[in-house]
């Protein structure tokens, strides 16, 4: 079952298939603002609350995985809301990076900017072929990353040349390109995307049973550099205790 838009409710929803949880993003360009971050967090709460779940897949519906930050909305908010947005975003990234089960971003379409960052916070990425660009367009729109975002990105990319092309010069990649530079683990047709994502997670799980606590502790430790950078920002500190 490919789960196209006809069978998927609008907005952010969770579907359980045995021990797999699929977070469906069916919100147009699936951009991040304070409301959509809250919805994603509620969805993640549901997943964490399901003790049978051993795998998390995130995916979009239609042409977009995620086009990044909701810049239109951000442009209409004052500095306080902008700062709160950044803090909540960092909290979400940390939550995802340290999620207590294996996570796979099943990239069904365009994945730009903050969408790419979101995808890189997963353990794995798989991507459909024939449609959809992956790109960090910051250089083209003259909106540089914040230093702590650059630090996070750099830790997730495998080589200096890839970091140069992707982060400095905003190169656009299709699925085949991303496979070559080790940013995605598998590529396939859209109709197989969820299945391939699940298979990737099952390969990772193997026969072992990872305790959720231990997996979170491991992910926190491995990512402690980037996490510390995000946590130490005033944005994060301001929302640290907010729900």
């Amino acid at each position: 079952m490919a789960g196209e838009s006809t069978s998927c409710p609008p907005g952010y929803s969770v579907e359980f298939r045995d021990d797999v949880a699929i977070l469906w993003m069916n919100n147009g360009e699936n951009r991040f603002n304070i409301d959509t971050i809250a919805e994603i967090n509620r969805a993640l709460d549901t997943v964490e609350g399901s003790s049978l779940t051993r795998i998390l897949i995130t995916t979009g519906v239609g042409k977009f995985y995620s086009n990044g930050f909701d810049l239109n909305w951000l442009g209409n908010q004052g500095p306080e809301i902008n700062e709160e947005f950044v803090g909540r975003l960092y909290k979400l990234w940390i939550r995802l990076m340290t999620f207590p089960v294996p996570t796979v971003a099943a990239i069904n379409g365009h994945c730009y900017a903050g969408g790419g960052l979101f995808a890189l916070c997963h353990d794995h990425r798989v991507m459909r072929t024939q449609r959809g660009w992956w790109c960090f367009p910051e250089i083209h729109i003259k909106l540089p990353f914040r230093p702590e975002m650059m630090n996070l990105l750099q830790n997730k990319l495998s080589s200096p040349a890839v970091a140069r092309d992707m982060l400095l010069f905003g190169k656009k990649y299709v699925a085949e390109d991303l496979l070559k530079v080790d940013v995605v683990d598998d590529i396939c047709e859209q109709s197989s995307l969820i299945e391939v994502a699940i298979n990737r997670a099952r390969t990772t799980l193997g026969k072992d049973n990872y305790s959720r606590d231990m997996l979170t502790r491991m992910k926190e430790d491995i990512n402690n550099n980037s996490i510390e950078r995000l946590v130490s920002t005033p944005y994060y500190q301001a929302v640290k205790s907010k729900l």
């Binding site: 250089i139 003259k142 200096p160 040349a161 140069r164 400095l168």
Partner: protein
Amino acid sequence: MSENELQDKYRVEYVGDVAILRMNNGENRFSSPTITAINKALDEIEKSDAKALITIGSGRFYSNGIDLKWMSQQTADEALKFALVPLVNRVLTFPMPTIAAINGHCYAGGAIFALAHDYRVMRTRQGWFCLPEIHLKLTFSSFKHVIKCKIPQGRVFTDMAVFGKRYTAEQVKATGVVDDITEMAGLMDLALHMAKQCLGKSGYDRETLKILKTDLYEDAVKETSVGNQQLFNIAKL
């Protein structure tokens, strides 16, 4: 040699909106006067409308690194003003795409200078690419951040940086540290082609690119040290 005569060995020319800095000073080694000349050339390029920078040597050398003979003739005070780290960092964060067209030997400080560029192309059949510091009984010291930023971790880093292996054009291309190679006659065209490909239709906003490079290479950029006691000691031996 007068300052003007020296400056003449570091000439700038323009091909469309690409600036080309030609180093035509023998082994193109770095001393305080040659660093000054390169900085003056870079000043001119930054003031121009150029959208990309290519650097190239001449004859058999791209650059053989630091001028140890010059260093050995300096007083301790003068040696401590040796500003290669700031020059390397300037190239590292230059506000336009940069390409090192490695026309010949590229050793030590010369290789570090080449690594500070965004892209590297190299001619085939002549010239070694090498970080021979271990063989010279030197550590990278202030330059280690640059090489860590630009050389892939793992076997390549171990061979290239730690154990000072020397590479032909084909070998260094295989590591990914050099992006493309070609015969000498086609080297500048290759560099220009890479520049055009990188620039795309409109080039890049200088301010944005500088911020991105400064953040991506922040560990190297934080290194502001001038002078190098280690080098001075070696040169004096």
